[in-house]
Amino acid sequence: MRDLIPILKTLKKQKIAPALLAFQIAVTFMVLVNAIYMISERSDLIARPIGVNMENTLIVVANLPSEQGDLTTQLEDDLTILKSIHGVVNAAPITGLPLEGWGLYMDFKLDPNEEDVAYGGYFGSNENLIEAFDLTLLAGENFLPSDIQKVENDGIFKSSKIIITKALAEKIYPDNWRDILGKSLYYHKEPHEVIGIVDKLQNAWNFWSALEYTVISAVQEANDTQRYVVQVESGQMASVIKAIPEKLLTHPYKQIDSIEALSEVKRRSYQEDIATNKLLTVVCICLTIIKIFGILGQAKFNISRRTKQIGTRRALGASKHQVIRYFMLENAIISTIGVCIGILAAIILNNQFVELLSLSPVPIHFLLVGAIAIILLGQIAVAYPVSQAAKISPAITTRGT
């Protein structure tokens, strides 16, 4: 640390050049920290589990043509076919899909004459859905086949047994979420007895605050466009996808709209977020490269400007190692000043983002890790020019160059 005070005195005298470098570091830090934080927040959102076995869950969307008669019978036939395919664990009908961007939602009451206690998304299905999604039942029990009501359209208006997510149970009973078992939730003025609680199941809209407040009703709906959830044995996805059209297309009116993994539905749902993250990542990488070259260029200029001075230091007793240490420390000091200004600027910028874009504030540990990373980046950037500086011969002091 013997160089610390002389470096500070030198920087104080030079003022402009180190101030510009510190300013550049501050701006880079401010932008990088906020951008990386936005990327990480968005990545966290995308990474939230749906609550479903993503690897082996397949979604089939097919029609139930009225020309072929009763929709419920057709639906049952389809299910029988799907379950008979080699590699299929179970299959269930469903009224909508997690993260599909389209679906049903409703307000819930504990008493039909009181205020709403929560709101959330709705899926109507049967006793096979838990296995078809590979959901985790935390408390209570699954539907029995006798619980299932089979309807064509408008199943939401039926009074039925329901299974809800733990998040919704906690919303209604924050102290003990299991208390909701056996109680009735009212929607569309009808009571619905809660018989089971599953760990997690996201509903239709990824941006929704009630994304994890989901109700599964024991009402199996048959619709013109019918969605099926199919749980496939590990490693059987490709063969099942291949077999479905062969088996399901039993008559000329039958059409399959899509056969895709649930992960594909999720990818589509977060398409814009993924693209934004990619763009931000490219911006961050470019900014980092520009910063490294900026510091490298400035360090090279600084060193070439001070060649004679470095030679003088060498002649007067500085070893190569001491020259390296001097310039590395000088850069670390400037970077630290820049980062300190940057932290303030980042907080101010982030506050604007918090207000304008409803982002959460950047946590302190994020700023500190960013600060250390920027200082290290500076050290890496000056390492090469500084190693060149150490090679300056002390003999240049007498050669008049």
């Binding site: 030198t10 003088t312 070893s319 002390p394 007498t398």
Partner: protein
């Protein structure tokens, strides 16, 4: 104090060997004031660089203050240079961003002196060159002669056994040059050896001994002393 035996220096550029200094012997005792003269390109600077451990010699023996310096590592050589040699350069080589006090402090910081000892040495050196009152000034606020005095103060603050002066008055007018010569003689009188490279025969003659380098050949025969005197 300084002993060179059969010492030579050759440069190898593009497979062409240039003999900058032909083998020579030279001994300088503690307290001597030696001038080194010779025309441009004769090898004076190469000699000075080797003597000052700024450049390595190719062959022969070089002992400074009783130590053979040939096998020194960069670290040891730098520390030895700092401790044993004081440099006075033609263009002063002060650091413009540091004031006089800090300029003199710079080489002392590479030694194991504590703050008080460094302070005492800096003030004493500044007093010796007559600039104690200007310690907070920056080099650009001084005349050339004053800057060279600061450089001399920097050289003597570490109490080296020898001062190597490279054309110390080369950038000064005659009046300033006279002052610098007088200062160097005072320092020498106090016991520090001085080796001064110069073009100026009149200044060279003020030394106790004159060494001449011509076309890479070094000679310190008494004839040269008489000729210059």
């Amino acid at each position: 104090m300084l002993k060179m035996k059969n010492l030579s220096k050759a440069f190898l550029t593009d497979a062409i060997k240039t003999q900058a200094l032909h083998p020579f012997d030279l001994s300088i005792e503690q307290g001597e004031f030696v001038s080194v003269i010779g025309p441009s390109g004769s090898g004076k600077t190469t000699f000075l660089n080797i003597a000052g451990l700024l450049e390595e010699h190719s062959d022969g023996l070089y002992e400074l203050d009783g130590q053979d310096v040939a096998q020194f590592s960069d670290k040891k050589k730098s520390a030895y240079r700092n401790e044993k040699i004081g440099f006075v350069f033609q263009s002063f080589n002060l650091i413009p961003e540091l004031n006089l006090y800090d300029n003199i402090d710079m080489p002392l910081r590479y030694r194991k002196f504590n703050r008080d000892e460094r302070h005492a040495r800096i003030i004493q050196a500044l007093e010796q060159v007559g600039l104690a009152g200007r310690k907070d000034h920056y080099p650009t606020q001084l005349s050339g002669g004053q800057q060279q005095r600061v450089a001399i103060a920097r050289a003597i603050a570490g109490t080296p056994c020898v001062i190597l002066a490279d054309e110390p008055t080369g950038n000064l007018d005659s009046k300033m040059a006279e002052g610098i010569m007088s200062l160097l003689k005072d320092i020498n009188a106090a016991g520090t050896s001085i080796i001064m490279v110069t073009h100026d025969n009149e200044q060279a003659a003020q030394a106790q001994r004159i060494v001449q380098i011509k076309d890479g050949h070094l000679s310190d025969s008494p004839d040269i002393q008489k000729e210059i005197a």
